[in-house]
Symmetry: C2
Subunit: 226 residues, 2 copies
């Protein structure tokens, strides 16, 4: 069976898990701590980053972007980059929006402050979250939820009429923040409705079953009625 090296609260690893599940591709998962810089893992991916997908024949694909494009190439039956070249470009614009802009302004810092720092020693920057950074990210997330609501005024899904990789990318990031209970869903009902539709899909079940030792998710995390 294919193997995915990942981190449970890494947004782009979560995106790959969603895409594999949507395409109904079986996978066994290995949690990889990038900080350990294991030789065996560096031999798979010299950049040392998750996610990495290894196919049964040994074909190794490194990085979330290359993995999801590869899965579209190799397993096109369930298309997550559907439509015309222009529709695919709009999908990829939103993928970049969330993987770059949203990550930079919200998810990377918030996951680092609230999750990663718990597992680091003090000499590596571990300790309590820096609340000034947390407050900034919680301020920034509002602009992105507004943007989702704005898109939902004229579209069924983020990129347009068809469910796409844009939705799974955004939902993967938001699901990490949801794990730490930091998404003000009730103030953004159209974004919430969109997220409920994604969260209800069978492909989401694996993510909703995640449980970080010592840091259980809030009750609403796995609840479809949140």
């Amino acid at each position: 069976m294919r193997t995915l090296y990942h981190q449970p609260l890494c947004p782009v690893s979560r995106k790959v898990r969603l895409v594999l599940a949507e395409k109904q591709l079986d996978v066994s998962t290995v949690e990889e701590n990038e900080g350990e810089r294991r030789d065996e893992f560096l031999a798979l991916n010299p950049s040392g980053c998750v996610p990495v997908l290894v196919e049964e024949d040994g074909t190794t694909i490194c990085g979330a972007g290359p993995i999801v494009e590869y899965l579209e190439d190799a397993y096109p039956d369930v298309a997550l980059l559907p439509g015309t070249p222009a529709y695919r470009a709009e999908t990829r614009r939103l993928v970049e929006w969330f993987d770059d802009k949203f990550a930079q302004e919200v998810s990377t810092a918030l996951v680092y402050e609230k999750i990663t720092k718990r597992s680091l020693s003090a000499s590596y920057g571990g300790g309590a979250p820096d609340m000034a950074i947390v407050r900034t990210t919680l301020h920034n997330i509002r602009y992105h939820l507004d943007y989702i609501c704005y898109l939902m005024e004229s579209r069924s899904w983020l990129a347009g009429d068809a469910l796409s990789l844009a939705d799974f990318t955004a939902a993967a990031h938001l699901s990490c923040l949801d794990y730490v209970g930091d998404v003000p869903w009730s103030q953004y009902p159209d974004a919430k409705d969109w997220y409920v539709r994604l969260k209800s899909r069978p492909s989401f079940r694996g993510l909703l079953a995640d449980h970080i030792p010592g840091m259980p998710p809030p009750r609403v995390y796995a609840n479809l009625d949140f």
Copy 2:
């Protein structure tokens, strides 16, 4: 004619210019200063970032990744993501390597210190380059040139036997550093040979003609015998 909004020493804008030229697609270019946050430009791309490509029919594609994938979709005659799904995945791994890792460790900081800071007022961080940062990037670039030499031991081009987007991505970043004269080519002859082959292509001519007002490139920048 289609229009590309870009910055001359933005590596990913340069990649798009190379891809357009390889595919022999005519384009008029507009230099966009992201810092101005022009309303008309924000209406094209709400992220406010270059590059943005506008087709003659108004179709607007935002971001280097979406643009090059769109150009592959819409104009496949000259394929820059050739080969099998696995070859395309290796190509995209190296694209990510240079656009993410190389950018983070070398090109973003070096272009900012040596170019961008010249055009910023002191209150926005302008002024002389921080030489500690410059030294760090010049240290880091050696690992990447080593990596190119390592790949060249067994391959004709970065991703394998076929010229691909990986080569144009890496060359776009390196060409920016070449503009400020900071690539120690002579110590990495295999990387230099690879770069000479790219620099000799007609698609490179537009880049080699670039001239930033007040900051002419070193003589070797446009010279094929450097």
